[in-house]
Symmetry: C2
Subunit: 154 residues, 2 copies
DNA sequence: CCTCACCTTTACGTTCACGTCAATATTCTG
DNA sequence: CAGAATATTGACGTGAACGTAAAGGTGAGG
């Protein structure tokens, strides 16, 4: 697979994906989106996409000065937004995305990456526990209130 | 159950709890903590606690000018911090805590509260899905990297 | 009584993640 | 090809959640 990069289920996160199944169209079959296309699809503003680019989270190509987003960029954005939704900072996300990039890393580098990933997983599991507890409490609250509503005077 | 307030498992969130089991000590058996006690226990700064008070999230009593936190306050803080850890804003948290307070609310008010709670639960479940997906991906990433590390040249 | 440690309020500073003009290209469409 | 729609780069503003001095009160111990 490509240069040995690890990829995300469903959609490649690295830069170039080959033509879709049924390989017609030699060079430019890659679907490309404008900034408003993408911003509408993911319910963010163009400003947000430019900001993410400034922060090094995403790297659209250009036609002239206009940004063009590939499918990989679109997948990357999805990843970013999901990361954001679970509480990652943009710096966190950039680091994580960089980890996915198959740079020719030396072994100690890779091991450090691995360690950091495992730490992250631990933290996320703790967060999951907090989330479950919060959900449980809110549900308990809801059913108690509901019961209260149905009893005394209808 | 005091005045009919709903409370959180484990520790009462409303203001006054009666003396612990074994009812000795008529009036002041309530354990009270100073601001640094609490901040150390929960690994936040005193500044944070004062800020939360300014924002109406917690209401310690005073001895003179010095803040005194009860066990209920401590439980409240725990709730706040867990809410924060799952991504609630302080305003969110204040609203949720207010919901727990058994104010003499009218029926439509209560129903609105219920609806909001259910919305929150829905959002939290979505967040849970995102969290699970992120964890799964990170774990996949880790095992792939690990396998890569063990194969070619030891 | 005096110091020391800890408490207080007031108030301005900071970081993050964008929002909001403004002024200017550029690109699509009739 | 003209006009409308959309894009771009600055640059400054904003809200949330605290941090960080500055300038004091207060009480227990030596």
């Amino acid at each position: 697979m490509g240069t040995g990069g690890f990829n995300i289920p469903g959609e490649a996160l690295d830069s170039a994906g080959p033509a879709p199944a049924g390989g017609i169209d030699p060079a430019e079959s890659e679907a490309r989106f404008t900034i408003t296309d993408l911003s509408r699809e993911y319910a963010v503003t163009p400003r947000t996409l430019r900001f993410y680019e400034d922060e090094g989270l995403i790297h659209p190509t250009r036609r002239g000065t206009t940004r063009l987003y590939s499918r990989a960029d679109r997948a990357r954005l999805a990843w970013i937004l999901r990361g954001r939704s679970v509480g990652f900072s943009l710096a966190d996300i950039r680091d994580l995305l960089d980890m996915y990039a198959p740079g020719p890393a030396r072994r100690p580098q890779i091991e450090a990456t691995l360690a950091k990933s495992r730490e992250r997983i631990t933290a996320l599991n703790e967060q999951r526990a907090a989330l479950d507890a919060t959900i449980a409490e809110l549900e308990q609250f809801c059913s108690t209130v509901e019961a209260q509503l149905l009893r005394p005077n209808p």
